[in-house]
Symmetry: C2
Subunit: 318 residues, 2 copies
């Protein structure tokens, strides 16, 4: 038996920064608008191409994001970066469009129990509710992507049957949506499952662009990204310093940290267009601004390329 010695992976991937939405919304302490905008500008300067900038959710539902319009207004001048905003309903879509957003993201949960808990409706009802949002976005030539929360496991129900994913994706396609984020919202995926599930979905829906939204709750986010790349997935969400916790386990890790993911890609020789050194410096600044990090490895250990001085005299080497 001969073992393969040259693993084929994508040469380039796209990393989408989600801290301004998924990270900030998990912060209890108010982050002043100028800090939010400052972080977005620092992130844009690293070479990150896409930022999920906010969610146009009702201010009472997530008070932390009540300044969505102002954050967008002060960020739109940035060039070289695309913004995407989450919209939960028609009202949110209208606000996003009015603020100048050119790409919106729709969100639903793969399981009914998670859907009820998050959106107070069944998955099917959430899907039905997309119709007027999509009409509005199309009228304004605003791009739309879809997402499926808890796609690899629901914290209330456990397994998500593949047929459920299939039928959700079919409805997204009926709506004309071709970019769909598979979200491991509470870190329940494992790399074998990602490999097999993504492979099956890619076979079933060859025209859909699948992207991955991975959480590191149980330490498997980079393994899952690696598995997804083995199925030619090239778009990944992540959150600077790992901001965004896990609602069911206080202190547990949430989103995979952008610097950890970009570092892993860089070590594997996969281009992201992001300057890792700048990114790590931004992560340090973000940690200072927010007051903590969300479980970043690279902030603690430094990148692999940062070598150390040997502790003993090494005259034998000379």
């Amino acid at each position: 038996m001969r073992f393969l010695t040259d693993l084929k992976l994508p040469s380039k991937v796209i990393v989408c920064e989600v801290a301004p939405r998924d990270g900030f919304q998990a912060e209890k302490q108010w982050i002043p608008t100028e800090h939010k905008v400052a972080i977005i500008k620092k992130l844009a300067a690293t070479g990150i191409q896409i930022i999920e900038i906010t969610s146009f959710v009702h201010p009472k539902a997530i008070p932390q994001l009540k300044d969505a319009e102002e954050v967008v207004r002060q960020s739109l001048e940035l060039t070289g970066v695309k913004f995407r905003a989450l919209v939960p309903n028609v009202r949110g879509a209208q606000r996003a469009i009015d603020a100048g957003i050119k790409k919106i993201k729709l969100m639903l949960s793969a399981s009914d129990s998670h859907s009820l808990s998050n959106a107070n409706c069944l998955t099917r009802e959430a899907m039905d509710g997309f119709a007027p949002i999509i009409d509005l976005a199309e009228k304004h030539s605003v791009e739309i992507s879809g997402s499926i929360s808890v796609a690899f496991g629901c914290p209330f129900e456990g397994e998500i049957p593949i047929d459920r994913l299939n039928s959700i994706i079919k409805r997204y396609i009926q709506y004309g949506i071709k970019e769909i984020s598979l979200a491991d919202s509470t870190g329940m995926a494992n790399p074998r499952q990602v490999y097999n599930t993504v492979g099956e979905l890619r076979n079933n829906f060859p025209d859909v662009i699948f992207t991955m939204h991975l959480h590191n709750t149980r330490g498997m986010a980079i393994a899952n990204a690696f598995a997804a790349m083995q199925q030619s997935i090239i778009q990944f969400d992540s959150s600077i310093t790992g901001l965004g916790g896990c609602p069911y386990a206080p202190g547990a890790t949430g989103n995979v940290a952008t610097e950890d993911l970009v570092h892993a890609f860089s070590e594997m020789g996969i281009e992201t267009g992001i300057n890792l050194e700048t990114l790590i410096n931004v992560a340090k600044e973000v940690k200072q601004i927010i007051g903590h990090d969300g479980g970043s490895f690279i902030l603690k250990a430094g990148p692999r390329s940062q070598l150390h001085v040997a502790p003993k005299s090494q005259q034998k080497l000379g």
Copy 2:
């Protein structure tokens, strides 16, 4: 293009617990002998098959392990578990044999600078020094395994050329040693590198049993284990609660936590013979005994199988 949807991985793997050696030696605070033995007994009760029980190193070099003989003496009664002890020299080998150890592990560094810093000799000199240890072990019919520290990257030199690994393995084979641990001692490996390097080594040395010793310093331990399994590797070291830090980055993660690794295997449907629930309970007890953990995910987040109660009333489901 059709994507594969059924990733082939080993059906069973063997997890070797190294906390009593690699974990304890990193603890500054003295762990009383009875606590060490209690932890070893608890670990053996989980179904773990191999425990790296201690290192017969000079007591002045690592005072924490000065009770090596007593720890072994009080543990030998355990059935169903095999013990392995690290020996740095002939004196250590004699002590291990006298204590009743039936399997010893030799250790050297892939780079000269790490070898000088750890063992005060070049890699080649370390290899030469194995001869009398091996003679002694063979005389007493004691099994021998080898290991290569910093095999995937040296914190002082960076890259390890594959030819260096090849020549070290050749010398191990000349000594009659057929089981070799590839140690990512400071968490510098990435999964693509593991896949390619392990593939090449397996092709070069088809009769060697390679095992993996992975650290999670930069968040890639489980990804690296996943990559190694894709090259049919079936033996992995890990440390309960992740005990054992990183000497170059205070607070950074060291060994991958046994409960995180076993949880990942379990989720992938790979048998370990270890009862995960018992293991997590032992991890909780070990954390209490030692006073901290080393970066365990499962201790914070719980296993994936532990479902949560949905926060809202879900009458629509009924």
